[in-house]
């Protein structure tokens, strides 16, 4: 078995989601990583150092600068003949690309796998994680996205794979990247942070999230949010944790003013330790919490800050 992993990166750095995908891929066979981007040689060098990676393919071309699936899908399809499995992390990039690849190959795509049972059988969450389906693929090539929180990251150092430059496939040309507004933050990435503190509708405003920022800075945590807080405009969309937002599984998840709709629980219930702070003692979030504190968050969060600063 040979496995091609599509690297997640921003042309400068290899993103940690790739490391989780490499771990899943290594359970299937020998791992080759393809780095498609523009001016992304450093990313390929980083990928070559990842433990468990046998080979790195570098496709360096302006057409790949912004991960437009219209351009990257033909590249991956062109490489597919040499591999039994095509794997990407289930990031927005992977989710955008891999179904396009699968359809061009006339095979199914298996989304968001949480375990590898065998080379054709995988476990994946359905119904917002309220059920786990074991599915067996009958296709010759398996196209897969990986739930990153379900696989430990591969060691970023220790490997010594070769880097081979490959030619670019023909660019689609029917879509153009216009621009992006990325949220700037010095805090750890939400999906790979050890501690996450999230706020919900109970926060009442964007300004009040500063209370969570303060706790996050003390703990070295990332800040997240429920859909209600994002829809209300308190915080940007990339904060959203849940079924259709980001899936997180930190060592510690602190839910503040979040009632705990099943769609939110889907994104955080695999966290090791869950703390819920909510003034409604009936809130469903308490059913999944290891430690529940029934209190007004406007008293509890400043008190938490003060206690942590002691």
């Amino acid at each position: 078995m040979s496995v091609l992993v599509f690297a997640e990166h921003d042309n400068a750095e290899l993103k940690s989601a790739t490391l989780n995908a490499v771990t899943a891929a290594a359970q299937l066979g020998e791992v080759t990583v393809v780095v498609a981007g523009s001016g992304c040689g450093a990313v390929a060098e980083a990928a070559a150092k990842v433990s468990g990676v046998a080979k790195v393919l570098l496709a360096d071309n302006e057409a790949y600068a912004h991960d437009l699936a219209e351009n990257t899908a033909p590249l991956v399809v062109g490489l597919a003949g040499d591999y039994s499995h095509l794997v990407a992390p289930a990031t927005t990039t992977g989710k955008n690309l891999m179904p396009r690849v699968a359809a061009l190959l006339d095979v199914a795509q298996i989304s968001d796998i949480s375990a590898v049972e065998s080379d054709d059988t995988f476990v994946r969450p359905i119904y917002a994680g309220n059920a786990m389906a074991t599915v067996q693929s009958t296709d010759s090539v398996k196209v897969i996205t990986v739930r990153t929180t379900s696989f430990e990251p591969a060691e970023a150092e220790g490997g010594s794979a070769s880097v081979e430059e490959i030619a670019a496939a023909e660019a689609g040309g029917n879509s153009i990247f216009v621009g992006e507004e990325l949220t700037e933050s010095e805090r750890p990435e939400l999906t790979s942070a050890k501690i996450v503190i999230s706020g919900g509708r109970g926060m009442q405003s964007g300004e009040n999230f500063e209370m969570l920022d303060k706790v996050a800075d003390t703990l070295g945590a990332a800040v997240g949010a429920s859909r209600a807080a994002v829809d209300a405009g308190y915080v940007p969309n990339d904060y959203q944790v849940g079924q259709t937002g980001k899936v997180v599984a930190p060592d510690l998840y602190i839910a503040v003013g979040i009632s705990g709709a099943i769609q939110h629980l889907a994104g955080m219930k695999d966290s090791k330790v869950i703390v819920a702070i909510n003034k409604d003692e009936e809130a469903p979030i308490f059913q999944v919490a290891d430690y529940g504190l029934c209190a007004d968050l406007f008293d509890a969060v400043p008190a938490l800050s003060a206690e942590l600063d002691k």
Binding site: L68, A69, E70, T92, T93, K95, M98, P99, R100, V101, A102, A103, A108, Q109, S111, I126, Y127, A128, N130, A131, M132, A133, T134, V135, Q136, T138, G172, N174, S175, I176, F177, V178, G179, E180, E181, L182, T191, I195, R227, V230, D231, P236, N237, D238, Q243, T244, L252, K269, K272, V273, I274, F286, A289, D290, Y291, G292, L293, L304, E307, L308
Partner: protein, 249 residues
């Protein structure tokens, strides 16, 4: 402009699903079914394009059992002009759905296809991307803002790092995210009117599409439950537990 939307009948988002004892799937008998919430957003966007004069016709397609007709009626009551039901008892996977939609597109020649980014039952998030691939069209996925200018679609996408905007040639496939709009409720008069709107029914066979599944579901089980937690009296006790019991800070 002609707009085609695809709508799926799913277990209502408020229902806590239960796994069947024989592990073949989840219980759907006597469970409230609704239109996939993301598809409601797709329908709403199509209606707004009509109201703005950008679109002339809005067609709602559903693929599923005869009961999917109810889902199409919901779209018609919201404001779609007519419906197409592709009737099958097979639980069609996204690849099969994309192939059926391709066959419909070849009949109807829409300028844009708008679908929900994922269905809340199988959580696949694949159909738009697969359809775009099969058509050789560009794709705008996870879209929170959409406009049309000079024969192109400008789509702002919700991505992991924030927002990204792309300009797509037409025709194009769009998959919508939560922030695009807030779907309307159908009014009673519109529900009555929708009963008279046309729904054409056909089968995948008649369209010449093979919808046989590529994946075998071997079993469906409940996720492992979390152990019961404890309530703490105050912040001091919470911090003490986190430090000394859970040892996570």
């Amino acid at each position: 402009m002609k707009v085609l939307v695809a709508v799926k009948r799913v277990v209502d988002f408020n229902v806590k699903v239960r796994v069947k004892p024989d592990q073949t799937g989840v219980e759907t008998a006597n469970v409230k079914m609704s239109m996939n919430p993301f598809d409601e957003i797709a329908v709403e966007e199509g209606i707004r394009l009509k109201e703005a004069g950008t679109a002339e016709e809005l067609i709602a397609v559903s693929i599923g059992t005869s009961q999917s007709q109810e889902t199409i009626r919901t779209a018609l009551a919201m404001g779609a002009d007519r419906g197409i039901l592709v009737e099958t008892d097979v639980a069609v996977e996204p690849l099969g759905i994309a192939k059926v939609l391709k066959a419909i597109i070849e009949k109807e020649s829409p300028d844009v296809v708008i679908v929900g980014k994922q269905a809340i039952d199988d959580d696949s998030n694949q159909t738009a991307q697969m359809l775009a691939a099969l058509m050789g069209w560009p794709q705008g996925t996870f879209v929170s803002k959409l406009s049309f200018e000079d024969g192109k679609a400008r789509a702002t996408r919700e991505v992991d790092g924030g927002l990204e905007t792309v300009l797509l040639d037409m025709p194009a496939v769009i998959s919508v995210d939560l922030r695009l709009n807030e779907p309307r409720y159908a009014s009673l008069p519109n529900i009555m009117k929708a009963k008279k709107k046309q729904i054409d029914t056909m089968t995948p066979d008649e369209l010449g599409v093979d919808v046989a599944p590529r994946l075998n579901t071997l079993k469906v089980v409940e996720p492992p439950p979390r152990a019961a937690g404890v309530m703490v009296a105050d912040v001091a006790e919470l911090v003490d537990k986190l430090k000394n019991e859970a040892k996570v800070i």
